[in-house]
Symmetry: C2
Subunit: 299 residues, 2 copies
């Protein structure tokens, strides 16, 4: 029997990409439902510039007021020392930095080259660790860049190593634009796990091309045991042009539980959380398992 950690990004990566403005109270109620479902870790928000990401402007209040379930880890994105200060001020013991594997994406996303961002994050990680705050590292565009196209595998390996050397406890190798397929996951995972222990790696897939679960299945073969997911598949709607939803937590749980992996998460309670947030975001949530389930329930 093997355990898999489902890293819930719905309140952050999910809601951040929703068009509707979500109220702070609704966010907190949603997070509390997710905690109650038994998720081992929830990314609550992002301490980023509210002028750039209005949806995350209430990060401080969301992080402070959400009920903290014993045994669940709570995290948030921090782009710099100012963000880290805000995260520590509300008592978070875990944060995440977000680097990218391609310069063009990095410049457009955080206005820094990859190299500049690494220097910045080195300082953030050092400061966090000195205060006993754990840091996760995202590596966006690891499977492809919307501007540069293919991303060399050796660059992904080198940057993953850099983040780990700087002190992050794990790197979320991320398919930001949802192009990864199992053939590519095999190549990237073979290169990464040749040099890095699988327990230092997480995978973050978007289901843009329907391959996310097949990618997870491939990564499991490389002993990866942490996967990011978003309740209901929040953050994307397959009928909206260009929308790229996160892998849905429900779909991931159906796969993992069917394979006999333990997650500690209640699929029914995740579905209930999705049912609560669906009218708030104002469009049908794309999770296939969720849709198949709610369609058969009395509404």
């Amino acid at each position: 029997m093997s355990r898999v950690t489902v890293y819930e990004v719905g309140p952050r990566d999910g809601l951040q990409n929703e068009a509707a403005t979500i109220g702070t109270t609704e966010k907190i109620a949603f997070i509390n439902q997710l905690s109650d479902a038994g998720l081992p870790v929830i990314e609550l928000s992002a301490f980023v510039n509210p002028k750039r990401v209005a949806q995350m402007a209430d990060a401080d209040e969301v992080c402070a007021r959400a009920t903290k379930r014993p045994g669940t880890r709570y995290s948030a994105l921090v782009p710099n020392l100012a963000g880290l200060d805000r995260a520590m001020a509300v008592g978070l013991k875990e944060v995440a930095v977000f680097a990218a594997a391609s310069d063009t994406f990095s410049r457009r996303n955080i206005n820094q080259s990859v190299e500049e961002s690494m220097a910045n994050y080195a300082e953030v990680i050092k400061t966090a660790m000195a205060a006993d705050v754990r840091v996760r590292g995202y590596l966006s565009t690891s499977f492809g860049c919307p501007f540069e196209g293919d991303v060399p595998v050796d660059r992904v390996v080198r940057l993953t190593q850099t983040l780990l050397q700087m002190g992050v406890f794990e790197v979320a190798v991320s398919d930001t634009i949802g192009v990864a397929h199992p053939g590519q996951v095999k190549r990237v995972m073979a290169a990464l796990t040749a040099l890095i222990e699988p327990s230092f790696l997480a995978l973050h897939f978007h289901d843009t091309r329907g391959t996310a679960l097949a990618n997870v299945l491939t990564a499991l073969d490389f002993d990866i045991r942490t996967f990011d997911a978003s309740a209901g598949g929040l953050g994307g709607c397959p009928y909206a042009p260009g929308a790229t939803g996160n892998l849905a937590t429900e779909d991931l749980l159906y796969l993992l539980h069917g394979l006999g992996y333990e997650t500690g998460v209640s699929l029914d309670k995740i579905i209930a959380a999705s049912e609560s947030i669906e009218p708030v975001v104002g469009h049908p949530l794309p999770s296939r398992l969720y849709r198949a389930t709610v369609a058969t329930l009395p509404r």
Copy 2:
């Protein structure tokens, strides 16, 4: 490099489950685009009772008038000897019978117990083979029945063997309600391939719970090399209650080509076929790859 056969069921299993009435001319134009895409086999229609399945009432005309591309096989469903006669009258050299692994589904679908249907199909297969017409066998509800729930694996194995002994060239082991997940696919495939050569087996998945590609990936490990799919994911819309779409041909091709399998099928031409049929069926097609692609194209 290994070759995989994509068995296209869009014109039959896809359109049959669409609410809009599709004109014969539109069906034929769609089929001709699919042929042009290089598909090795296309299921054109079903010679069933038009009072029960109005969408398939024009089976004779569709099968007769569709352009037959050299090298592509064309098939149709036949429920009985009368259906076989109609299929042979329009010149088909391949047909398919559809049995089920659960009695309740069999009775509701074809008004016969599983045993009664096998006796009926034995006669159909014998007659077809005597006329040099190849017969495929479907085994519906092999991964679960909407009425009976779990279906014993040994029953699936036994009925697959029965169909093969009766003379079908392959059995399409079918997840009619889209509940299969890789854990279950492993168990069913291990039992089947312990007794049956993989080349006699095809897999027919619906993507109701988002697991279809992960299921294909699992089945590839058991040397299965024929998979059913429907252009655009026709036959289901994730936003319609209870709708259960076939695995989309586009999504399957993206997976297979990414793994380095040869299919002989042009993904671009399948997307073009889906773009033509989408306004005819009157709702967005659910294929993730299709949606991700058309959203980035000028419309």
